[in-house]
Amino acid sequence: MTARKELAERIEGRLAGRSGRSLWRSLDELAREPAVLEMLRAEFPGLPDLAEARVGRRRLLELMGASFALAGLTGCGPGEAAGEAADQAIPYVTTPPGLVPGVARHVATAISRGGYADGVLVVQQMGRPVQLEGNPDHPASLGALDPIIQAGILDLYDPDRSRSVLKAGRAASTNGMLKALVDRLPALAANGGGGLRLLTGTVTSPTLARQVAALKRRFPAMQWHRWEADGRDTLRAGSVLAFGRPVDTLLHLDRAKTILAIESDFLDGAPGHLRYARDFARRRRAAGEGRPEEMSRLYAIESSPTLAGARADHRFAVRPNEIEAAVRALAAELGAGPAEWRRNAPGWLAAVARDLSASRSTALVHAGPAQPPAVHALVHAINDALGAPGQTVTYIEPVEADPVDHGDSLKGLVADMAAGRVDTLLTLGANPVFTAPADLDFAGALAKVPLSVHLGTAPDETAMLCTWHVPEAHELERWGDLRAFDGTVTIQQPQTRPLWGGWSPQELLAVLDGETRPDGHAIVRATWMERFQGKGDADGMWTDALRLGIVPDSAAAPLSVSLLPGLADRLPPPPASIPASTGGGTLTALFRPDPWLRDGRYANLGWLQELPRPFTTLTWDNALLIAPATAERLGLKNEDVVELRSAAGTLRAPVWRLAGHAPDCVTLPFGFGRRVVGRVGRDVGFDAFPLRRLDQLWQLPGVELRKTGETHRLAATQHHQMIDSPDAVRHATLDAFRRDPGFARSEEPEHSLYPPYEYPRNAWGMAISLDACIGCNACTAACQGENNIAVVGKEEVLRNRQMHWIRIDTWYEGEAAAPEQTLFQPMTCMHCENAPCEVVCPVAATMHDADGLNVMVYNRCVGTRFCSNNCPYKVRRFNYFNYAADDNRLPMSWNPDVSVRARGVMEKCTYCVQRIRNARIAADRENRPIRDGEVKTACQQACPAEAIVFGDLNDPDSAVSRRKASPLDYGVLTDLNTRPRTTYQARLRNPNPELGEA
């Protein structure tokens, strides 16, 4: 009786927790929409709707009879029929040196993102790349990887990649292409390369730079143009304004106590963002680890939400043109600008300025690429005034080879093409027909070029309009070199022979230089032999560089630059202050890259298409993002299709209301709406590029917005798999934590009718620090790759059937217009000690094992889905269809260590049991215990912020045991007596007392 009363009280307490300052996951949940409450209650919402195709009793019996008969038949016959390919064993003729069949090899190389290197270790099984892991020795990775680089393995095996040379879009011979190029050479030599142009994205490759320099000696009039739609022109221009020369800025977040992020991408897009995330998270975790004085404070000013904004202690959502005014005012407050800039400064600014000023050289200000050059110049001035250079920021020579303004560069090229001054255009790896600003009309100008050659990994928009398209070898298939954000060089080595042939950019350039049979290896090696010459054993240095994945000591040296005087006079005039709200439909459009597809180059990768975007949780679509208040003013709901009109053109886009978005502006993510693309990326999303103008690359004022009355369904996952717990995420301010260190703990009963389990060897457990998590989704992507998780497509996502084993729940607190807090919670199987799923499985397909794992036995599973229904964390995924078999990826791209699940089978996080087993075998072979840190789950390995720790709970000194000993440690839904093995460490905030709790 008392127990029942206790339970009733507890439930009431939980319900009561919902009122007042509560957490919410979406605007609909905040508004308590009935549909959302239904999603909260049901494990399989929408299932009754699917019963439209009703199956009667008779039909059911027929089907059951037939399937039993068929199931019986499969049991007959000998175990293996001889002679079939699958039943043959095919050894090597000569085993490659060092290769042991069945033992994975890790080979270092790098993959580029926006031209900059991310160091990877390629996991190879019998000479075949199966997975990418971060290279711990690489400064931009430190062992972590973002979703885009992880998807590189899918890119390698993409069956829609280019397989042959195309002439005007039709298959043609390589020799024909070579002849066309070589035939042009005498004419080019005669006029000094007058009509010869090269177009690339951002290039950091020393070899490419060396080759271009050589070509320029041969063809002095040749020009090299650059265009990166998602580029960093504004940062370059800002440093020219401030210092009179381009420099790259490196951030040292490990030394930063007070940080101001101005729509900054330091956590999600900037070169080096994985490194920055790690440094940032280490200082954020410090308070929970007993060093509260080290905890940093982050301010964010932004219009369109960024991950840095979500992690900020104070986030100010302001209209785009108010940002520059605020930065000017801040500069003035800190003595880096004239006092009149202080006029109209927002109220919070003085407090931020005082805090930055108090931190002096441990303060840091950073702005993202969407901010105008003036803001970047001001940021340099502010950092200078704070004494940050040499402390929290260092300047280096630009990593980009021969840095130019991409906008000007492209504009010059298009003007020359349109004027007929270009007769040979080589486009290496860029897709300007799709990504160039619409006002340039690149496609129209391209038609006037007599010989245009495009090198790309897939036939894209540009390939179709060029005279020749040449298949490009994937970065895992060719030799090359790249530099990371800090200048460190990686020599890229091929991991496999090109699957479908293909050229490297270096090889194609060599053809222009007169080589008929270029050899990528020799070209790259020549660069480095030249550089290693005279420094000792050049061959040894080459081998070392390949083995390590970096050229040692190749990072750029810090540069000493000084601010040019008179910055205030050199700045372009500030933008006119805008009227707060015009009341009409005139808005400012902000162009931002989609977090995963970037400029559209990754559009054919299913992992990225289906990976929920941070904040919106959208998959398979982009949407016009708008502040809830602005949407309400305009009468817009989610999924309404609107038409945007401006002088630049019109486009139609579905609407998504986003909490924390600045008012009176909309964000248009570009990268979607590719027209010439493989099977996965076709007809996905809308293309925002047609509104983008060269002089207004990042924001376009004066856009008219009109409702069309149509709707477009968007596959957002925010209401999928919602757990019913008001305190799933726990948080407090640093001060509150000091007063009550155990605020997150909850005392829960530990009763069970079942005898307790014993764990004689290991007891695996996981700890996830919400203090560290930045919501980047790297864990979800890593899990998908490691565990062969299927991509299901938009229709199935709409039915709540995405398969990700680990999801990031996003929680907000506060007002919809300006949430005070955005909290991310990676949610995956908790491996409960009293697992509710285990007791309801009628066929014992989900079991407790001797290490405490809650294992799934796929072969036993008959698909009752009782387990999923009984799981309060909603982390189980059911294969409604044979998703894996329907996937068009190449069979060899699956991870051979993990079963590929069939239809009708439940699946979920296994704590990467395959990695545990391999470690166990390795340890048992040597008769020793498994060392702490020897087993790393895929999510843990990919996490740049070290939020996830995994290990043995039987060992009190293991990293996970130490993490769990933190006073911040708590379990989710422990009042259900599930006793989860995955626990969380609560988030701490470090607000400025001057600005109040907010």
């Binding site: 079991m847 094992d849 395959q914």
Partner: protein, 217 residues
Amino acid sequence: MPGVFGPTANILTKLVLYTLLAGLITLAGGAWFFPNTSYATRVGIAQPQPVPFSHEHHVGGLGLDCRYCHTSVEVSATAGLPPTHTCMTCHSQIWTNAELLAPVRQSLATGTPIRWNRVNALPDYVFFNHGIHVAKGVACTTCHGPVDGMPLTWKGASLRMSWCLDCHRDPAPNLRPKEAVFDMDWKPTAATPSGEQLMARYHIHPETLSDCSVCHR
């Protein structure tokens, strides 16, 4: 009016009923025993091969060590099949013109692998590891049978799950000192440690060996 049932009706009915019963028992028995027959398990049935390689000759006769060809058995999940190159270490010197070895020479000359017919195959959802079994004192012959007596190789055991589990639940009878794992003719002597002693020496924990996750991932 004649009776509906004639004088033979009783006996016919009984006959039908008994036949049905006998049929059911036969079926059930068949379903039980069939998977264990060597027809279904292929145990003891020699597989034809492109080159009639004889373990009897190479192992039993010449005394080659298992690891001469199956090089990765101690370190990897797979024991490894010898590359053509391994065959040719000897056969470039002896039996250089033998008709039987033509496919081997052909393979080396053209760089095309020899396609052997699999003798021991496990389903894709079973993740077996040779290395750990060898390290814990499970001998080759324990699972693969008397390989040194096989002119053409056949399966030594059913490799059915129940067969695996018999040993995973009670490994003691199948263990021998690690040094004798590759010994074809090993016999325990009075000095041989008992299975229980070996389990202690090799840290074998049968209580964790029958977890599903040991073999299925």
